[in-house]
Amino acid sequence: MHGSREYSGLSDIGRSPTLIGILVGVGWFLIYLAAQIVLFQLFDLRQRFSAMVALLVSFIGLAVLTTTVVAYTNSLDGVVLSAFSSVVTMASLWVFYMPFYYVIATSLSVRTLLTLASRGDGVLPLEQLEALFASSTMLEARLTTMVAYRNLAVRGSAFTVTTKGRVTATVFGGLKRLWRLGPGG
């Protein structure tokens, strides 16, 4: 059941505001990925997440601008719908991409594979891997990042949770109880 504005011919499909928005969104997202790689290659950024968000927002702006220009130059209807579709497409592709990025960047499993691969024979004692990835040194590095993102604070030699960190812990603690996940980690 659809409205009376439905297209009748194949030639009309090229005038679909949603399709134009999707294609523009995909195109700008690919350019965003390329720009992010160039940015990371050129600069040693401390807060990469903030940089990625700022870059994404800029490129979403460019996508909206592109859909608007395309609509006006071709006298198309649905400028707002086209812009909305490009924003949804870019935001969706970004939420697919970010977990993938964090797996590459922070996963202990990935780091384990890379550590083993760096050995010619690909073999290491479990004890040595534990010393690298289940030790106080590894945890300290993660805690330093959490302090930088203001989830934790340092009190002498002890770490304490901040209000921001407490809110996150409470929300996810509730989700763990709702889904009966157990302690996990």
């Binding site: 290659q41 499993s109 073999v123 009966r180």
Partner: protein, 174 residues
């Protein structure tokens, strides 16, 4: 825009079904279970999109797509994002997130030193338990094998390591 609205409704329904499933059943491979449930809800999403009017009874004409297939495509993209970027990531963080577990441990037990956290991690299971869980995952996926106290890469593990090393170089991750 209808597709995005339907995707949000379908996402809420999927979350509810998953919650009921995880509470009622003793699920071992939860991520696989969640993906299966999502895949089963995709036909329901498409049906819901087909049977509802283009304007859903409240959308302005300017936000109504004349070509339903394009609207459905945008809806599928949004629905996949709601699940893979939203619900499934919430699960991954809640069940496997190291930083989140540290936050929860510190919230429940109060301030701790690094050495105390290594022992108290995950309600007293400790960091070695956490790493054993990761190792189990790598063995399950045939990326490494463990012979006694020695851990070795499998051929597929070596191939995966090559890909990850390349990606880390491209993204300049050290």
């Amino acid at each position: 825009m209808k597709g995005v609205v339907v995707a949000m409704v379908a996402g809420a329904m999927c979350f509810t079904v998953l919650t009921i499933g995880l509470r009622a059943l003793d699920v071992r491979r939860r991520a696989g279970f969640m993906v299966s449930v999502w895949l089963l809800t995709v036909p329901a999403f498409v049906t819901l999109h087909y049977v509802t009017p283009a304007d859903l009874g409240f959308l302005p004409a300017s936000m109504t797509e004349p070509w339903p297939v394009a609207d459905l495509l945008l809806g599928v993209i949004a629905y996949a994002a709601v699940f893979f970027g939203g619900i499934l990531q919430l699960y991954n963080l809640a069940d496997r997130g190291l930083s989140l577990r540290v936050l929860i441990d510190l919230t429940t037990s109060g301030p701790m030193t690094v050495d105390e956290m290594v022992k108290a991690y995950s309600a007293g299971r400790g960091m070695r338990w956490m790493y054993a869980k990761r190792m189990e995952g790598l063995i399950d996926h045939d990326l490494v094998r463990q012979n006694g106290e020695r851990v070795a890469l499998t051929p597929s593990g070596r191939r995966a390591a090559v890909i990850f090393a390349r990606l880390q170089r491209i993204l300049r991750i050290e």
